[in-house]
């Protein structure tokens, strides 16, 4: 077994790992990042090929249990109402994400105080605002500031992408009804930007962006991070975090590309492995001093899993609108029903995003009403759908529940001989009520916009993009895993910077907040570099 050393070890080269690595490297800190996946060549993405939908349903599927690439690890999901979606590789899930770039709302940080549910975050919107602002520049966000749903913030670096003909119809409808809407903010370039080409509106964002217009961190962060000295090792899977005799994290064991176990020693360890991967690794790293999993004296590691239940409503219009084109980021969004209102019968709410409706294979296969369909009705469905429809995706704010969790299943052993991660997750009654209400309202939105027909699925199970909360942040070490600087309560030189630290989920997409939190923690480490706790290696 060979051993290497580094000042800071980051585990995971996705969104949070990339943001952290780049920020640390800009300050001259020596960083090594271990990533189980590989680099992708943009030319390999299927979006510019005629069979892109077929590929996106298989080898480029966002569900790792379907994709089953070499970089993926098994996630048992038969005990979860929602299936996980993520990507393992340089760039992580930003390779396949839709790049909706949304800040949390101020109320999202204080749901307990405002609405009597969930937990308050130990930080607030103003704490993250400077980092949201800076990251908008690094990620190259297109949009327009001034949304009255938010406090004022600086203009985005690029103007919004076109909201599309269907977006104009729905925007006008919301205007007439007095409902909130706003042009979509997306980490997708609308102009040439820092070497990136602008979006070509091919609408294949979720199969990787062939143009490099989408702000995936393999494009936006890793090239500069590596040029600044970060060592990024790909194709290596971390199997254990190591502790020294003082109870500090001192590195990790990992399997190299040949399956051999190697060791890396580090003064500081940062976990950036997704809410599933990070919790899994901590639980697998149990030791005599942490028999229930590393950094888990609170018993909170793996708990409070939130997955953003989603419903989808489709509006069908008479006019051809080429709605297979456009960006599959959000065309417009609505926060009309994001906040608690007494008359609703549920707490918190949902964020809506309007998007194109995909190509012909989506039209043929999407189970609109779950009924089996072939023959003339199938021809009719394709005719109605292709180019003449738009989709409201509706994300419910998911509240923390200790029974929703990631556990290790001792009966199913992975290729490393370790127990496999299992998701135990039930959609709450509150979330179900949110989605039923929102579905009705979204139908109303489309009808006002001129749709002659709508169709809805009130719960889309294959859409667990936003796994959050499995190592939550807090000031009370008995009830949380990390402190407000994302530093483990139990192990002072161990940090967790991914979506696992979320206290509550908001209803908006989490990427911008994950990135802001990661950058804030990197700045904390940089600012306290001379005094921060380190392992001696």
């Amino acid at each position: 077994m060979s051993t290497t050393t580094t000042e800071i070890l980051i585990i995971g080269a996705g969104l949070s790992g990339a943001v952290t690595a780049l920020q640390l490297a800009r300050s001259g800190i020596k960083v090594t990042c271990l990533e189980q996946g590989q680099w992708n060549d943009r030319e390999d993405y299927p979006g510019n090929k005629s069979d892109f939908e077929l590929q996106a349903m298989g080898p480029w599927n966002a569900n790792p249990n379907i994709r089953q690439s070499q970089a993926d690890y098994a996630i048992l999901d038969d005990t979860s109402d929602i299936k996980p979606m993520l990507y393992n590789g340089v760039g992580g899930s930003t390779i396949l994400y839709s790049a909706h770039w949304m800040r949390f709302l101020p109320s999202d940080f204080n749901v307990l105080s405002l609405d009597g549910v969930g937990e308050n975050w130990p930080i607030n919107y103003q704490d993250l605002a400077p980092y949201y602002n800076l990251n908008d520049l690094d990620f190259g966000v297109s949009g327009i500031a001034g949304d009255p749903a938010y406090p004022d913030f600086p203009e985005y670096p690029m103007p919004p992408l076109p909201i599309q003909p269907w977006g104009e119809r729905v925007a006008a409808a919301h205007h007439r009804m007095g409902w909130h809407w706003w042009p979509g903010s997306n980490a997708i370039a609308s102009l040439p930007y820092k070497g990136r080409r602008p979006c070509v509106q091919r609408s294949t964002c979720r199969a990787g962006c062939n143009e490099g217009a989408k702000g995936s961190v393999d494009q936006t962060h890793w090239p500069e991070a590596i040029a600044s000295g970060v060592i990024l090792k790909t194709g290596v899977r971390v199997t254990r975090i190591l502790l020294d005799l003082n109870g500090l994290a001192c590195g990790a064991l990992f399997k190299d590309e040949y399956g051999n176990t190697q060791q890396i020693k580090a003064e500081i360890v940062i976990l950036a492995s997704h809410a599933i991967g990070s919790a899994q690794l901590l639980l697998k790293s149990a030791s005599p001093s942490f028999p229930d999993g590393l950094a888990n004296r609170s018993g909170q590691v793996g708990r409070n899993l939130m997955m953003h239940p989603l419903s989808r409503v489709i509006g069908f219009f008479d006019e051809p609108m080429m709605s297979w084109q456009g960006h599959w980021g959000q065309n417009i969004y609505s926060l009309e029903f994001a906040e608690t209102r007494q008359e609703h019968g549920f707490v918190r709410g949902a964020k809506w995003n309007l998007s194109p409706s995909g190509g012909p294979l989506s039209a043929a296969l999407y189970p609109i009403d779950e009924a089996r369909c072939w023959g003339k009705p199938l021809h009719q469905r394709i005719n109605n759908w292709l180019g003449r429809s738009a989709v409201w995706g509706i994300t419910a704010e998911d509240l923390p529940n200790k029974h929703n969790r990631l556990v290790l299943d001792p009966d199913i052993i992975d290729s490393n001989g370790d127990p496999t991660a299992r998701l135990v997750y039930k959609v709450s009654e509150n979330s179900k009520r949110i989605l039923e209400f929102m579905t009705d309202k979204a139908i109303q939105s489309f009808i006002e916009a001129g749709a002659y027909q709508t169709s809805a699925r009130s719960l889309v199970t294959d859409n667990g993009w936003h796994a959050l909360g499995t190592c939550r942040m807090g000031v009370d070490a008995d009830r949380s895993v990390v402190n407000p600087w994302l530093q483990s309560h139990d192990i002072e030189n161990l940090y967790i910077v991914d979506g696992s630290v979320f206290v509550t989920s908001s209803s908006v997409n989490p990427a911008a907040t994950i990135a802001a939190l990661a950058r804030r923690t990197a700045d904390y480490i940089i600012g306290s570099r001379s005094t921060i706790k380190r392992a001696k290696i």
Binding site: G47, N48, Q55, P106, P148, E168, L361
Partner: protein
């Protein structure tokens, strides 16, 4: 070794496809095309992991494609519909009938994002967010 779909299985595939896409709404019937050969092979080249389960499904087929489709498990139904639909929709004449040119790279318009007047009106509205 890669499995091969035999002639009987291909004929079953064609029979089922003809029920799935009989033609309608200006879309041609699948029987106009040799779906069981080049289009099917195109799909299976792209997704060769589907060959084995497809063969298993086709081996269950005897006759009566409507009844056959009705009685498939959800997983098998989804799989065979994916392959039939992808084969059919890969045919150029079908794309032409749908006026679908494929996902095109387009140059972004520089004339604005749309509905600007409404956005400027919204900007004048009072802030609506909640906070402590």
């Amino acid at each position: 070794m890669m499995e091969v779909i035999n002639e009987q299985q291909r004929n079953s595939f064609a029979e089922i496809s003809n029920i799935v896409f009989p033609g309608g709404c200006s879309q041609p019937p699948s029987s106009d095309f040799d779906l069981k050969n080049a289009p099917l092979d195109r799909v299976l080249r792209a997704r060769n992991e589907l060959i084995h389960p497809l063969i298993s499904i086709l081996n269950q087929y005897e006759s009566e494609p409507d009844a056959f489709l009705s009685h498939l498990t959800d997983t098998d139904f989804k799989l065979i519909m994916t392959i039939i639909s992808a084969s059919y929709l890969s045919v150029q004449q079908v794309k032409d009938s749908l006026e679908y040119p494929g996902q095109q790279a387009m140059t972004l318009s520089r004339t604005g994002f749309g509905a600007e007047e409404l956005v400027f009106e919204l900007m004048q509205q009072p802030k609506r967010y909640r906070d402590l």
